[in-house]
């Protein structure tokens, strides 16, 4: 088949899927920009009579978007930093050093990676009650860092293996300590891998739902994802224009970053999973 013919056939085959994928985005945009009077109508229509961008401004106020945004940034940045600080030395050890129990450690990581917070959520809640951390953002920072640890170590060690050993050996001959080698020679070389890993941990924290639902109590502590859910969950009247404007505003930046970085995740996953 010619390239042109192939192109037509491929697009035709995948067109139903493309429509279904784009459908929720169209719904988000179409609802976010319409006046409230045009929302709960039957039969519903795709195009509103009036495009109302003021919705985004109103929503920001009504939803408390700013505070939730700040909370999400604090939690995600804090958890990402903690996770990397703990994961870097572990990944360095497993990728560079031979020691008894290395295999066991990697298997242990694998098990923690497979556990989703939902299975342990009752135990985690009790732990946080005991430590007096319920309704505090620290609780989320600790949990997110712990549940991303395995992923971070896995990603980092895959990249670390690709960095040539000779540079560190040279530094060792010059009398540099383990710490100096890690800090001054190795980490600058690993910077791109750190950036990619940090981004994925950050996005996980940004999107996380179950733990925020369980551990947060008061509105002013809600993360963005949970705040938007709370506009929908357990309410009699839902202001869908606000909800869709908020979903749109919360999703688009993450979607763009994700789209740009996704190929790194693939290569990292492939390295981690296959090797």
């Amino acid at each position: 088949m010619s390239r042109a013919g192939r192109s037509v056939v491929y697009w035709l085959i995948l067109s139903p899927l493309v429509l279904i994928i784009l459908f929720p985005f169209a719904v988000m945009i179409s609802t976010a920009i319409r006046p409230r009077a045009e929302i709960l109508v039957f039969p519903p229509v795709w195009l509103p009579k009036e495009i109302r961008l003021q919705n985004f401004v109103d929503m920001w106020q009504a939803v408390g978007f700013g505070q939730a945004l700040v909370n999400s940034v604090i939690v995600s940045a804090g958890a990402t930093a903690l996770c990397l600080i703990v994961a870097i030395p572990a990944a360095y050890a497993t990728s560079r050093m031979v020691f008894r129990g290395r295999r066991l450690f990697r298997q242990f990581l694998l098990v923690t990676q497979m556990l989703s917070p939902i299975v342990l959520v009752l135990g985690i809640f009790r732990l946080m009650v005991k430590m007096g951390l319920v309704d505090q953002l620290y609780a989320l920072v600790l949990c997110y860092a712990a549940f991303n640890l395995a992923f971070a170590v896995w990603m980092l060690q895959a990249y670390f293996r690709t960095i040539p050993k000779e540079l560190e050996e040279a530094a060792m001959l010059d009398g540099a300590s383990t710490f100096q080698r890690l800090w001054m020679v190795f980490l600058p070389l690993a910077a791109p891998a750190l950036g990619v890993t940090a981004t994925f941990v950050f996005i996980y924290c940004w999107n996380e739902f179950v733990l925020a639902l369980t551990l947060l109590r008061s509105n002013e502590n809600f993360t963005l994802t949970f705040q938007i859910f709370s506009l929908v969950g357990g309410r009699y009247s839902i202001e869908w224009d606000n909800v869709m404007a908020a979903t749109l505003l919360a999703s688009v930046p993450v979607a763009i970053v994700f789209a740009k970085l996704q190929r790194y995740l693939v290569s990292g996953l492939a390295l981690g999973a296959i090797k």
Binding site: R3, R6, S7, W11, I13, L14, L17, V18, L22, F23, P24, V27, L40, F42, P43, P44, W46, I85, P89, A93, M97, R102, F108, L110, M114, L115, S116, I118, V119, L120, V121, L122, G123, F125, R126, L127, L142, C143, A145, A146, F147, L149, D174, T178, F209, V210, T225, I228, G233, V243, M244, T247, S251, V254, I256, A259, L269, A270, A273, I274
Partner: protein, 306 residues
Amino acid sequence: MGSSRVDPIRGRRREAGQLVAPYILILPSLLLAFWIIGYPIWDLTDMSLHSVTRFGQLKEFSGLANFSHLIAEPLFLECLIRTLVWTFAVVGGTVLLSIPIALILADDFVGRRVLRVIIMLPWAVSLTMSGIVWRWALNGQSGMLNATLYDFGLMKQPITWLATADTAFPIEIAIGILVSIPFSVTVFLGGLSSLPREIFEAARIDGASGWQRWRFLTFPLIRPFINIVLVLNFIYVFNSFPLIWVMTQGDPANSTDILVTWLYKLAFRYGKLDIASALSIVMFLILLAFTVVYAVLAMRNEREAG
């Protein structure tokens, strides 16, 4: 510097340092994992073996009584079966759709880059947000799905998709498949791009048909990737909470509850902590079994690769 290299005492100290160093490096990660993940596992195990009050106080040791209470709950079997249906339908549907999609996206055609971005889009939006948007799109009165069907004359009465037991669960499965496709396609694309091009050329020259090339070359070669996608998806989907929770919270009348949503209700809504802890442990063991399967598969790949 030169003198230190021959100094036997410093040399030995450095050796000892080399011996301890890896353990110091992995220590923080072990501590964090044991604290936040290990302790809750221990706590849940402990709780599942005792009688528990509504407020979480442990009473006398009760052996496996909590587990037999769990099994005696009529909803347990119901949710277990629904979880299996949910998991097999979503994982099966995802893999069956993802393979042809990946084969198409790996080929060369006009607009491939655009199509790749579109197929990956659902991955970039969080499950919670997807659930919220679909819940609105499927709204019985004013949802845009109804609007579209109405515009094309396919519907006269509005359908309350998520409030009807017959439609709610199949729709959730379909959306589950939709959001799982990008990850699987990505792994398959990675697998396909790693295949040596020459043998496909050779097969073509030898007159192998498209189907034969798939059946005897592509499929066996990407088999390890299919295995890994199956196991990873199984674990993700089995654990998947936000989609169902956001769209229906397991309702109407528990008809869309799977184990994770029922577990959440047991623990935080019904206050049945004894049964909830037993269920947590059962699910932990199921996941552990799958992790072992994954580890064996991954190790077999490792051995084959090197």
